[in-house]
């Protein structure tokens, strides 16, 4: 089975590279497939094209940009509480570089209370009342580390496996590897909320050297969700249709003369564009959702928010989108001013994200979609268990250890993998790299991360660079 897929990948790869083009949104462009005289990827690509039996068919990646403080949310540390205010043991921080901390910083306990929840007994701080209801569906990984300590590079590393812009992001790899399940939406959609764009910018969802068709399409928060999906003001759908008919007829007539198959590809692209014009407005219309759903997510139709994006993510995966990246940037808290301190900002960031994230799990579950949808909740790094010298309570960036969680799509529910030391500073059990997380996610999608490759500049690149081990404990 998997060999067959490799053949397909190779063929696809060959066409992409040899012709430098791709039609439509990855797979699903019947027109291109037929004109090339062979099937590229069909809509059931997933079923025959995998290295392993897939558990997840799609991914919703809840990107928590800014660096959520693991110490204040997931990783309860009684020892830290005891030694609050003491100088940080030198053994931990000798020779370390921080973005802002200088000198010997002081240990800082979490100002929030922790409790156990669910049958799994997962510890959560009281800032996450909604997640606490679904902890038995979630796998926490408390021993993740990254290699970057500034936001931009760390986010780009998290999403692309390399800290410098220019590599394909996770969603692009998936679009390239297994395409879309649907016909009229991009395979990879990005939804943004928070105080600004993530520092890593669009490099967090770019396609790097993969064909542009695999780029994440970032929906706009205002105006058209997809640039130019609306007709110019006042133009009816009929008028658009008849102008497209003229384009198509003239393109066909020219195709008859010059016989270049590129023209067929363009005809197919225009037809897909027209389909998107019809499907996108319905997709975005969350007012059609029942009140109970809005209650669950905490959404108000017409008001953009992270929760609204979670609801949209569900609607997108229902329509066959392969990878939805929901990015919320509001987790940075250095304590340089009132709005930047852990005591104020952390509860605020939780209020913004907790309900929507938890609702997504509940909603997918009640629709029977959770088993086939992988949810990943992760920031680019954690925050120091030490207080940053600042007038307010701040924590600096901490790449050495932090917590992420995964749910659905073949993830073993109700477990915790990995642990950190008494201070939440270093992992002491099951150390997990960003590459390991991505390798695991691909494994759940039925893909061997070492085999999803693309040749560029003489090298076979992959999402996990030259590393990555599947975290076996996470697999159900």
């Amino acid at each position: 089975m998997y060999k067959e897929r490799q053949l397909d990948l190779t063929r696809r790869h060959f066409f992409d590279q040899a012709f430098g083009r791709a039609a439509g949104f990855g797979i699903g462009s019947a027109a291109l497939a037929s004109l090339l005289g062979e099937r590229l990827f069909a809509e059931n690509a997933v079923n025959h094209a995998l290295d392993f039996a897939p558990k997840a068919k799609r991914v919703i990646y809840l990107q928590q940009a800014g660096g959520p403080p693991h110490i204040d949310l997931f990783d309860y540390k009684p020892e830290l509480e005891k030694r609050d205010g003491e100088p940080t043991p030198e053994s931990l921080i000798k020779g370390e570089r921080f973005a802002f901390i200088t000198g010997t910083p002081k240990l800082q306990k979490s100002p929030f209370a922790f409790k156990q929840f669910g049958n799994s007994g997962a510890m959560l701080s009281d800032l996450l009342p909604h997640l606490s209801e679904v902890v038995d569906d979630v796998a926490f990984i408390k021993s993740v580390y990254t290699t970057q300590f500034n936001h931009g590079p760390a986010q780009i590393f998290q999403m692309t496996g390399h800290q410098i812009p220019g590599r394909p992001s996770f969603g692009s790899w998936l679009s390239y590897g297994i395409g879309s399940e649907g016909q009229d939406l991009p395979a990879f959609v990005v939804l943004l909320s928070g105080s600004s764009n993530p520092e890593g910018g669009s490099a967090c969802w770019e396609c790097g050297f993969l064909p542009t068709v695999h780029q994440g399409v970032a929906f706009q928060k205002t105006g058209d969700p997809i640039n130019f999906v609306s007709n110019p003001p006042g133009m009816t759908a009929d008028t658009r249709r008849s102008s497209l008919d003229l384009v198509n007829k003239l393109n066909h007539e020219h195709l008859d003369v010059v016989k270049d198959p590129e023209i067929s590809t363009r005809i197919a692209a225009f037809e897909l564009a027209y389909k998107m014009q019809t499907s996108v407005p319905g997709l975005m219309d969350v007012a059609s959702e029942p009140a109970s759903i809005h209650e669950m997510y905490g959404t108000t139709p017409g008001r953009p928010s992270y929760a609204n994006n979670c609801l949209l993510a569900r609607r997108l995966v229902e329509r066959g989108v392969r990878f939805v990246q929901v990015c919320h940037r509001n987790w940075d808290m250095h304590g340089t001013n009132y709005n930047d301190d852990v005591i104020n900002k952390c509860p605020q960031a939780c209020r913004e994200t907790d309900r929507g994230s938890a609702a997504l799990i509940k909603d997918l579950k009640q629709r029977g979609l959770l088993d086939s949808t992988l949810i990943i909740w992760a920031g680019e790094f954690g925050r120091t268990p030490m207080r940053q010298p600042a007038p307010f309570l701040g924590r600096d960036h901490h790449p050495k250890a932090f917590t992420i969680w995964m749910a659905g799509g073949g993830v073993k529910p109700g477990i915790t993998v990995g642990a950190t030391d008494d201070f939440g500073y270093n992992p002491i059990e099951d150390r997990v790299s960003i590459h390991d997380v991505n390798a695991t996610a691909l494994r759940l999608l039925g893909i061997d991360h070492k085999k999803l490759t693309y040749r560029f500049q003489g090298r076979d690149f992959r999402l996990t660079d030259v590393e990555g081990e599947v975290i076996q404990k996470v697999l159900a």
Partner: protein, 1118 residues
Amino acid sequence: MHTWMRSILFLALLVPAVAQSQPPKSVDFFRDIQPIFVKSCQSCHQGGAAPADLRVDSPAALLKGSLSGKVVIPGKSSESLLIKRISDKSGLGMPPSGPLPDDQIALMSAWVDQGAKIDDTFSANVLPIFKSACYQCHSGSDPKAQLHLDVKSMALKGGASGPVIIPGNSKDSRLVHRVLGEDGQAQMPLGHTPLTTQQIATLQQWIDTGAIWPDGLSAQGSAPTHWAYVKPVRPQLPVVKEAAWVRNPIDRFILARLEKEGLKPSQEAPKETLIRRLSLDLIGLPPTPAEVDAFVADTRPDAYERLVDRLLASPHYGERWATPWLDLARYGDSDGWTQDHQRPSAWPYRDWVIKALNANMPFDKFTVQQLAGDLLPNSTVDQKIATGFVRSSMLQTEPGTDAAENSWNAQIDRASTVGTAWMGSTIGCAECHNHKYDPFTQKQFYQMVAFFNNSAYTPEVEDPVYHKKNAFGEPQMDLPTPEQAQKRDEIKRELQTYKDKLNDSSPEFQKRQAAWEEGVLAFEKQWRPLLATKVVSTDGTTLTAAPDGSILASGKDPDTDTYILDAKAPLGEITAIRLEALPDPSLPQGGPGRDYYGNFMIHDVSVQAGSSADHLSKVAIKEILRDDDAPTVMDDPASQVKQVWVVNAAGHPDRHRVQLLLIPGQPLKIGDGVLRVTIEHKSDVHGVNLGHFRVSATDARNPKMVIDVPADLRPLLNVAHDKRTAQEAESLAAQYRSVSVELAPVREKIAELEAKIEDLHIPKALVLAENPQVPHPTTYVRMRGAFVSKGDLVEADVPNFLGKLPAGAPPTRLGLAEWLVSRDNPLTARVAVNHYWETIFGRGIVETTEDFGTQGAPPSHPELLDWLAVEFMDQSWNVKAIQRLIFTSSTYRQSSAVTPELLERDPSNSLLARGPRFRVEAEMVRDIALEASGLLSQKMFGAPVKPYQPSGQWGWFPGSRPGTDIWQISPGEDKYRRALYVYIRRSVRYPSLTVFDAPSRETCTARRPRSDTPLQALTTLNDPAYFEAAQALATRILKEGGSDTSARATYAFRLVTARKPTAQELDTALSEYDKSLHHFEHNLKEAQAITGQPDAERAAWTMFSNALLNLDETLTKE
């Protein structure tokens, strides 16, 4: 040799894991098959010009097959063309010299049936270990211990102490002992991380299975034999049959190959097609109908060449050809990275490129000026601007970034960019380890980096747009017009006279300063402390008043608290009230706050006054001033809570007394009344309350004098003048100058003059400057590419396997540039002509424009590439001349129409049996629509412009300040300027260009992908910028297109595609137009919405224009 490694992967993908009935003998490719190929097949079937495109000199190429498709079907010898052909003994089989012996045919068949496996463990697994861990010492002409691990025969022979590899016996192989650290000797690789267990196991297994080392796989030790690393020599022109077709030597190479393949070139394209093709290629714009008519009517024999020459001389030539170069230069109008700050000084370099191309600056000069213009003797302004190429690397401005690391990142990018742009090499791969496939070592990469490690920079620079300090700043140069320069110099001269006045240090000045100092000290005595009659905390803090009026907090430290102090007014009239925050040993770190670090934060201070505590009214405060430089949270407009005073005492280890001054709107005439001062702490943050403080009042006329000297300088006032250090003395003098009442007019004048210079808006350019104290730059190798892991110190040098710096060239960027354009450099000319070829034909002679290394694609026409490269150098790097040669070839002039047979034979048109046909670059998509509709502005050069883009793309950057980062549509014709001038914000490029594959310009891009997506269709259909072009085109049709519908439709066609429609096309167009007209006649409201007028005809032409601007042909160079 390296292509073999590729084959392993390729095979891994292709070989089906079908269970085979194993024949008795297992065939090994390298042992059994390769020798047959070498002996009997390879003399013809090798290299880029192999017959039928079938190469057997690399397994990858072999398995890729020939022009007829795959020749090896793994597992199926009977279906494999290779086996069919060698088994054919009719006389038409292969090899042509006569059939192979039967046993060899049997071996070949068995190999295919066994899955056509190529188990080259050596190149797949072993060689990479050798390269990354061993070759730094054990390769080249003088390896350590005389052990050559890079040449098969020598490696198997061993080193000074005998054999190290015993095939079949890893236990006794010293290679294994040494990497394990056995034999009582230091573990190999010396001084580096030991090999992993898995790597050692790989070596053991390889030795145990016989240490099979396929022939021909020597590595870097011997002279490089990869074609790209050998200097090109002018090849003989091939002989062709159809000599009449040949216009110049290019055609001879192309035709020879076509004849070898049994193909014929296509007919010449129609003149209308040719002029559009040439116009797009040379100036990036479609021709006007008048230009088409003139060319069609021109029957002179050299009409075509004249056209090429006209276009080469057009000022738009530079605009068109700038784009591919700027892709290499990673030119952008912002810094990139996290905050992606705007970079208003970038564009002079972009203009330099356009001008240099228009002036046909020879490519060697073009190279030297961009890499080292600043190092040329008596370098001109333009030569300095040219170094903007180097400066165009990204800049990280996120707070917390290290300046040295920023500099290092820039250097890495600069070296890698030179590698891609001039050397077609992926030298950046050697940042972390020796290059896995090409001969670049990690050391060589850092030697290249070292060339860029000698540029001047400052570790901190003020960003004028964002009003913040960035880590790492490089020089900029003012570019005034002569008038601006004159004005600026005049102002500067005047400014200098005032600055001289300000910087007075005469005895007179010193006397005044001394008097001022005394005044400040004496002024301290003009304050009367408020002696509390009552002082309370609302939340339980214990506040204790001392006789000097100071109040100390102790006991409970509540989350939020308000201190209220009542006192009898100490003076009858009060002009100011001050709050002093005082240190105290009882407070954390000595105070003055109660926070762990002694910090505090006050949200509000208010004053009430009245005749008694029961009759108080609020005092309006006009001004709040401070004498500390603590973070000014109150200035943060994003702040939701009023915060008047935040003191970061942690940043002041001396714990100075700091003061807050409250100045009422009117002096308080209070008599013997009561004052109440309320200090509010509203933060939720635990314990950031004030710990020790005093409130006092004054009736002095100039109360601000109390903060004339900031807290950190104040102790100096008590140091005798002759005891102060020079720096201390200067600090105080500078402080006096900044507050002295006598000097106020001078300061005002200086500010005014400085503002005047700002108002001149003199453009700046990013330039480089070399540090002259370091004649031979160096840098440290970084282990695994990590900035903090320094390795050996290396001196700037070029990779030695590619030659050395030319005699007399300095070991600087200048030497590097001279080396790149020296006749001995094997890469530069090839890379340059290949880049032109790719831009014109859509595919380079080397398809992988960015990689001429062993992993890149082999050239489709190697002799042509070399011929062009040598010709380019012989013509003194004359860019327009070499391009003219391409444009005037018969090859270029072919029709691009294709037949199914040709498509089958050569889908990617690598053989060029037809002309190029592909979707134009992003920039041209925009420019074609603007030009055809008549909107295009002719303006050239200058600051970037902002045409329509959907709202919400900008203004969402971390680190933006209010008012910055706004995409305001450019006024007037600027919004209709060529795409080249559109603002390039690297993290959010103009969406309508990005969607057509314009790169982000974050890093060097040698080759753009060419995609076709529905998002592109949505853009050209609906982007208001494109719809405006449709509206304008409709206006043009109505105005210029004649009076009847047919003439108008024809005219529209000609504007957009440069040709007349066929009868059938015209029929189609007219019938759709009629339908559309009919529709709008019945829907005038929609017509109004679309055109702004209730005009059905105009609306119908608008939709017609919108359709034409979306034709495949419009977006395509045909």
